[in-house]
Amino acid sequence: MEMTATGFSRSLLRMLKVLALPTKILRQELKDNSKYAVKKYSVVLGVKDVYTTYFYQPLGVVFNKVSEYVKHIQSGNVNVYVFYIFIVLIVLLFLAV
């Protein structure tokens, strides 16, 4: 029986568990006529994606909220758009003086 890479990586991941968030799924398949005797174990070792969950998704939620507020400028009413042009004209006239 040899040493595999799991021994090297999981030790360090377990020590840095706050930053790397390792996950483990342990399943057991029981024998046919028994509640206790196990036929097969399976383990899935993984690492939770820290960057997506704790950085990009909150950032995406913030951008969506800001966009919902800004969406109201595009109302579809042409008179509002003429009003915007009028406001910009007044401001530019003030700045040119």
Partner: protein, 308 residues
């Protein structure tokens, strides 16, 4: 001409003296345990015995197994010749902080490979534990010496020794903090308590010993000698960088003899301190080691923040 003689003496100083300090640490631990212990020159006799023994090598061993002892021993000789031991001459590119740390890491790398080479499960477990501890120790080791490098405005170890010996006592608090951080890194890299028991016979508790389980005869002698060399290298870094008074600055015989005597006294005191520390704490569980290694890192960060 004189510098060649002095350099040759420094080259052979570390391998000649290192088993003596291992013997001193074992003797002090034996007295703490209420027994006589072997003499302080016993490691020399052990090395002599191992050099006169035959070797047994596994059929599955590759060239890494055969080459690793030579590489590990050569690394400790090179590093021992480059660090300031007796005095602050021989400043070179090799006596830089990162060069020394990563040369020693090269030795650790080949030791870990050799532990896995024969396919032995105990060697593999020792290698995985050693790599985990080494990955975490590196931060504390580099940052503790980096605190002194910020004081000296240079990462050259010789410049650090010269600068720290000229400082007033007022600026000593960050140096003591950095020394405690360095002491933790010293214990980790020399495989001493609380990281590893150097005298254990149980594979469950081995880190360094597990990787060298397959070695015998002359190769084992080289690896044991290299481990003693590494201990002396870390001891001399600890005393020369953090408490550098007494180092020789020139080639006059008086300064050299004084430098040698002061060096031996300081290293004896630090190795006695290590022996007392080893006798008073137990070996930690493997998954508690990250706490003490992160403490070493944080202490170095505090020392650096006090210096900047």
């Amino acid at each position: 001409m004189i510098s060649i003689i002095i350099w040759t003496l420094q080259l052979i100083l570390v391998p000649v003296l290192s088993p003596l300090f291992v013997g001193i640490v074992r003797k002090i631990k034996a007295h703490f345990q209420n027994r006589q212990g072997a003499g302080i020159f016993q490691p020399y006799r052990e090395l002599w015995k191992l050099f006169h023994k035959d070797e047994v090598e596994s059929e599955d061993a590759s060239w890494i197994f055969r080459a690793a002892p030579y590489i590990i021993f050569a690394v400790t000789i090179v590093v021992g010749a480059s660090i300031p031991i007796i005095g602050t001459f021989f400043a070179s590119r090799l006596s830089d902080l990162l060069t020394i740390v990563y040369c020693l890491a090269l030795g650790t790398f080949f030791l870990a490979l050799a532990g896995m080479d024969t396919g032995n499960a105990f060697g593999g477990s020792g290698s995985s534990r050693e790599m985990t501890v080494a990955a975490l120790t590196e931060a504390g080791l580099i940052f503790s010496i980096l605190a002194l490098a910020f004081l000296a405005h240079s990462t050259n170890l010789v410049t650090i020794v010269q600068t720290v010996s000229d400082l007033s006592l007022f600026s000593f608090t960050p140096i003591i903090l950095a020394f405690v951080a360095f002491l933790i890194a010293l214990l980790a890299e020399s495989a001493r308590f609380p990281f590893d028991n150097p005298a254990t016979h149980l594979e469950l508790t081995m880190i360094h010993e597990a990787m060298i389980l397959e070695y015998s005869g002359k190769k084992l002698a080289l690896i044991e000698w290299a481990s003693a060399n590494k201990f002396l290298i870390f001891l001399s870094l600890g005393v020369n960088l953090f408490f550098p008074w007494g180092s020789a600055a020139s080639f006059t015989p008086g300064a050299l003899l004084l430098g040698l005597a002061v060096f031996l006294l300081k290293v004896f005191l630090l190795s006695a301190g290590v022996a007392v520390l080893e006798s008073s704490i137990a070996k930690y569980r493997f998954f508690r080691l990250q706490d003490i290694l992160f403490t070493s890192f944080i202490l170095s960060i505090i020392a650096i923040s006090l210096i900047i």
